[in-house]
Symmetry: C2
Subunit: 243 residues, 2 copies
């Protein structure tokens, strides 16, 4: 069985400049894995119109689902919504349903719904809104692209809204073994085991700890019994520490 | 003045599955910023031949420099070197200069240079080697693509070898101000300031802390005096905390 595929597009200069570390990618990767949707590619681009449009077009055509984070706030550098509309050839303006949400929220807070905040109601005409229980300003889904905020608490809330609406596949199960030997010793027998269990995926992730080499070997698959069988064989060859 | 551009390609299933968090991207981003090379895009792809080749071709044609991490070890899932050769239409085999390095290293260690370890000497014919002072197995540069290991200590050592050989631009200087107000209040005046200082880049990165909203506003540019001037203007509008 083939699981649905997904890609993520992270929009933000602050990650490319090294100023901040992305947290949303790691969160989304874990959630998609649990739901049986395979995250196959991530791209990070700067707050640049042409770069965002090109990436959205490439990813929406290449994968079943695309998730974006960042660039939907009220400031001048928040250009994601307009870029997404351009990528779909859709029109975009301040939309009444989004204004209604913001208007009620800011009235309750006693905050002015100024021009800047109204920018957050710019939604492509054919999109449907993604609820934002944290700070109200909505995300949106257009075609197979889900457009979400960059602030982690808001991104996570939007993911929690969107994911249950998507059809997942069989969750990918994994078991890991830490082997305190160099990858060069592990590689031969591991390669043979991987060839024998071609229905599973085996990855070796080397590390260096206190000057010693080792590797975490991860066996992944949709059939738990097969993963367990392969792991038992691996442990028989390389007694290690389950991690 | 326009700085050289760069892209990074991270190769590894373990990041896309949510198992581990990438550390190399954040490190490289910071080093490139210091050297005046603009990291414009990052892609993360899985250990898949076609995906790696397609990404390498797109990035090498689109940017001045490309840096890759991951997939050059001895195990069956380490396919980066062969993919890079395919992307450049180059031939690849176990190369004598790389074998000599490995051979001397493993002889000193009393470790067998087995078939798996010999895989780490697979280098495209037209590439030059990147020294690896940590664990000897080399990276390589072919055209404008620098191919490095995924283990952070090794990746960092290889970056330290490669970066001094590249011509940088003017380092991008930045100053940041934490403003404890909602972005909707900041956006109007900030947009006007950004329009007035069009030679600088101003970004607003919102956060939520203890239930309160705020934003870090970052002003970037190559002319330190201009950055200072713009920051003084911003502070006059929004007294905040330098960060």
């Amino acid at each position: 069985m083939t699981n649905p595929t997904a890609a993520m597009l992270v929009i933000g200069d602050e990650i490319l400049s090294g100023r901040t570390r992305d947290a949303n990618m790691h969160f989304l990767a874990g959630e998609l894995t649990k739901q049986g949707i395979d995250l196959n590619e991530v791209r990070i681009v700067s707050d640049d119109h042409d770069a965002i449009v090109a990436a959205v077009i490439a990813l929406k055509d290449g994968f079943d689902h695309v998730f974006t984070s960042g660039g939907i706030g009220p400031t001048h550098d928040d250009i994601t919504a307009d870029c997404i509309a351009a990528a779909f050839g859709d029109t975009i303006d301040v939309r009444a349903d989004a204004v209604a949400l913001l208007s009620a929220h800011y009235k309750r807070q006693g905050t002015e719904l100024n021009d800047a905040r109204l920018r957050m109601a710019r939604i492509p005409d054919s999109a449907s809104l993604i609820e934002n229980p944290v700070s109200v300003a909505p995300g949106f889904t257009i075609g197979n692209v889900h457009v979400m905020a960059g602030v982690p608490a808001v991104f996570q809330a939007m993911v929690a809204t969107v994911l249950p609406t998507l059809t997942g596949g069989a969750p990918v199960l994994s078991q890991s073994l830490r082997i305190d030997r160099g990858e060069g010793d592990i590689a031969g027998p591991l390669g043979e085991l991987a060839a024998e269990f071609a229905d599973l995926s085996m990855g070796s992730y080397p590390f260096q700890r206190d000057g010693a080499y080792g590797a975490n070997v991860v066996i992944r698959g949709q059939d738990g019994a097969r993963v367990t069988e392969a792991m038992a064989r691996l442990v028989a060859i390389f007694p290690g520490t389950p991690v």
